[in-house]
Amino acid sequence: MKFYGYKRPDGRVGIRNHVLILPASVCASDTTRIVANNVEGAVTFNNQLGCSQVASDQEFTMDVMAGYAANPNVYATVVISLGCENCQMDLVVDAIKKRTNKPLAQFIIQENGGTIKTVERATRAAKDFVQDASLLQKEEFPISELVVGTECGGSDPTSGLASNVLIGEMSDRVVDLGGTSILSETTELIGGEHILARRAKTSEVKARIFEIVHRYEKALQLVGEEVRDGNPSPGNKAGGLTTLEEKSLGCIHKAGHREISAVYDYAKEVTGKEGLVIMDTPGNDPSSVAGMVAGGAQIIVFSTGRGTPTGNPISPVIKITGNKITYGNMSDNIDIDASPLIYGTKTLGQMGDELMKEVQEVASGKVTKAESLGYTEMAIARVCNFV
């Protein structure tokens, strides 16, 4: 199975050809928005962080920024910083260069004479990158070049009956073809960690699965909170999910049946071509997806029960629901209806073929519903309050 993508100078393969206008902190986010609006083919996001963070928080933010710039869907990056933030320009640039050798430009607002002069220079750099990017021709690559991130959001009982089961089938097929599949959302492994641990490739991986689950629960308890206070969410419960364990046991179906070869911390670079892996991310969808995209996922496959329009600035998000009512209500947002699996009108094999075809087509350039509607919302995981 093959797709048409873009070869990057660092050896990886992209399925989009974006120029990223990267805000190093919240204080540069409006500036990157103005620049991205000026240039067709440029993408950006609203970075709420990048300053006044403790070290562990800053590490999350730095890894997402560096990982976004290194994601193979990005041709080149224009970094804009204010100048005085904790995520200093040289730190951000060094972090990007550790991950990739792709084209990079940088502008510091305080050193470039404020908004208008910075916008002028950054716009010109972005425009030049977009023109250079447009010269690149697509080439044929095997599916093994793909890192697929899996996610579930707005879950209900149909997620565990159909959409996550279908994602698991896709995950198995991607792994069997030599690619990489990421299971995420540590809060939604709680109650199912023993099932995943039995599939760990090594005793180290098994220990890491238990470690990330206990670490997450403990981190919330340290500030006097409980993971169950907001999880399952009101929508999960209205849909019929009663406990976090029930939600988790549905969630982990996304990991299919293959052995788990590695566990990554949030937003760290995923090696690729290593089968099924887990990344330690929040259950919160936009920040979990951001972690996997920073890890190098070129494509996200996302299941939902209640329905969501969500997308991502860098990687296309294919959305699936097993809830026939939600598909009927939100077919403008949902790419694939997996409800035939519940009602026995299609087999898992048939729907697996359909989803693999969708992955192949989106990898080759087909626009997802979220892309067509311009959805780019995202968030970055956090440890604690600002300092």
């Binding site: 565990g160 238990f210 029930e246």
Partner: protein
Amino acid sequence: MTNAVIIDNKDTVAVAIEPLKKGTEAEIRMQDGSLKKVTLIDDVPIYHKFATAEMKKGTPVVKYGEHIGVAACDIKPGNHVHEHNVENHRENLDNV
């Protein structure tokens, strides 16, 4: 017509795949394709759970063949099973 499913043979709950009314008979598709019938004693919204076995207060509620919580009161076959009669219970699963 089948209007509910059981995910694992060990489960004590089934999932309604249509809205089901109190007093009607749920026709449940088991994993091996066989059918099981339970008369409902509550209304069950679509995709919600109902009991297929008796669960005494404090005993596990089983779905996916795993514990999803414990019965907060005695639950009879045909009862809607949700927040009103299930409590969270964090088990240590490190050596399961």
